[in-house]
Symmetry: D2
Subunit: 120 residues, 4 copies
């Protein structure tokens, strides 16, 4: 159970095996996994909610060590969900990158938070 190739593909297989060994497949409906993602993202948000933006840019190493485990949880549930839906995460990312490149032309959206918000 190592990530020898360090890829999302490898991670997908590790998580499949992990769920299988624990008979957890039954809980991993896409609906439930989307809820689990909410919970994990909220744990991330909790780290930042009372900080200023500036403080959020300058976390202590101890804080980073906590935050990185929340990031890991999100990544893992995201890969699990994609697997259950037979979605290739990186192929989906490529599609979305192409959409965004067209939707947000640099000349039109540069540097304005107002424009940024409107465009999104």
């Amino acid at each position: 159970m190592t990530m020898s190739e360090n890829t999302l593909e490898e991670l997908k297989n590790i998580l499949r095996q992990f769920a299988l060994e624990r008979d957890w497949e039954q809980f991993h409906s896409p609906k439930n996994l989307s809820m689990a993602l909410v919970a994990e993202v909220a744990e991330l948000v909790e780290h930042f909610q009372w900080l200023t933006e500036e403080q959020s840019r300058n976390l202590t190493p101890e804080k980073i060590a906590e935050v990185e485990l929340e990031i890991a949880d999100i990544q893992m549930y995201l890969v699990r969900l994609a697997d259950k839906l037979k979605v290739d995460v990186l192929a989906a990312v490529e599609k979305k990158l192409a959409i965004n490149a067209e939707k947000y032309p640099p000349d039109k959206v540069r540097g304005s938070s107002k424009k940024y918000s409107e465009y999104r």
Copy 2:
């Protein structure tokens, strides 16, 4: 700007470039990015909230095409956030996998949603 290597590392660089060209770095504090992640995960949840678990396992191709773009958005903001915090996503995943393997021994948690919930 293609994902020739199909890795999170490549994605990190693409997203950096994308933000740079639009002068969006100023909006991408970790605090703000954690909020953006919430919004994206919620869009995912919206697809599933009125479905039964069974229905969520059997989405139409049209629905999958929508859901995969939400998955892409989450992946992209997650990589962006990790980049701003100098966190290596896959290294963090490896740490978390080791923690989980110890925390949820198969013999103790197998197949019981009650045990599953308690253990989590």
Copy 3:
């Protein structure tokens, strides 16, 4: 500090006083309060994420005792946020009820989850 009148108006004043006595006003920007709401709603979601819908309808009294405190947290942050924005929650609710009554005519949306989703 009792809710003698049991109204959201009374709650607004109690929460103002609570924040004032602790010098917490500084943290209670609408932005931050919206993040706090996410965290509280996620704690609610965590109670339900691995349950079936049927199980979620039949919680034990112990579970209800936990869930009701999450509901309280959400209500409190919602009132706090509305106060900071000078929004009257119940007046806003009346506006939204009128919008929904027009948007979802019973004859058109009755009993179909598909229609329900589309309409929403």
Copy 4:
């Protein structure tokens, strides 16, 4: 269908009637309603995610008009959820206020975001 008494109790009855007339009770399991709350809170968050805290304190009237409808949605789903769980929202709030008063004594938590975070 008016909120003549302007209370959460009245709102509970209005929402019951609204769901009944549309045969939506079947979708309103506590599990599903918790997901709907996530979606609504996220719509709120979206208004604030790229704003500074200062900007979030000074919304335009147009923005307030949008945000107040999100607040209404959250209030409505919260009351609906509490109703399905037979939870009295304001009684739950009273319990939580008592817990918080004990948990956060003014002398110990005053004015420090660090302490605030730790205490929470």
